[in-house]
């Protein structure tokens, strides 16, 4: 296989959940994808980068680092939602303004 990505390790990607083992952190990849496709391309791309950090750090065993990147991915998914709401509200105001202008004529 001549893939540009490192070959998959022989071990399973994530440790099985059990006693004393932390569950894997959220990558927020779904939120980043939705953000990229639906409203906020730049924030979505940043989210995908942090999601990449989460999975690669987790696979390397850097659990604290993975959680840290997960927190940042979460912050960018929140920024996306807020930006999307702002764009939507601004658009509604714009359309409302145009509608009232056409009514007044």
């Amino acid at each position: 296989m001549s893939s540009p990505y490192p070959p998959p390790p022989q071990q399973p990607y994530s440790p099985q959940p059990g006693y004393g083992q932390t569950p894997p952190p959220n990558t927020y990849l779904a939120q980043a994808i939705a953000s990229t496709l639906l409203c906020c391309l730049p924030a979505g791309i940043v989210g995908i980068v942090y999601a990449s950090q989460v999975t690669s750090k987790w696979q390397m065993g850097d659990f604290a680092g993975a959680r840290d990147s997960s927190d940042k991915a979460k912050m960018w998914s929140i920024i996306s939602i807020v930006a999307g709401l702002l764009v939507g509200v601004a658009y509604l105001f714009l359309m409302g303004g145009l509608a009232s202008v056409s009514y007044s004529r």
């Binding site: 994530s14 059990g18 894997p24 696979q59």
Partner: protein
């Protein structure tokens, strides 16, 4: 196998469970409402939805251009139409649905997250997205655009 429960779910009893499920249910209702609106209010008709700000500013397609029309087509089960509008959206929708189902199941059962995507998945998503973004604006790749 012992499962570490989310503290809120365990300590909150049935009410904590109810509260935990509220977020995925609300998200599901929101998604279903959006799909219904996209089905009824056709994004192929101009003026129904705002134009992509990136397209309006630059005249170039972004990776999300055509995503509303693709989702409208999906609600009419027109897979070919959806694919011609935005193939990335057609690929993303099953992933988003699966992520939602897993989220709902975690909150219902109170079990922690078990699965994390393999390390290559997010970078491949990023490369696909950026590659798609560039290609659909190049001559000869008009089939990737939503026009």
């Amino acid at each position: 196998m012992s499962i570490v429960r989310a503290p809120g779910v365990l300590s909150g009893g049935p009410h904590g469970r109810l509260r935990a499920v509220a977020a995925p249910i609300a998200t599901g209702v929101l998604g279903l409402s959006a799909a219904t609106m996209l089905h009824l209010v056709d994004p192929n008709q101009p003026g129904h939805y705002p134009t992509c700000p990136f397209l309006a500013l630059t005249g170039l397609y972004c990776p999300g251009c055509g995503s509303l029309r693709a989702m409208h087509d999906l609600t009419t089960l027109d897979l070919a139409g959806a694919w011609s509008m935005n193939p990335l959206t057609v690929l993303a929708v099953p992933y988003l649905l699966a992520a939602w189902v897993l989220w709902l199941r975690r909150e219902l059962t109170g079990q922690p997250r078990r699965w994390i995507a393999p390390a290559w998945v997010p970078p491949v998503v990023g490369v696909l997205t950026v590659g798609f973004w560039v290609l659909r604006n190049l001559p000869g790749f008009g089939f990737l655009g939503p026009a």
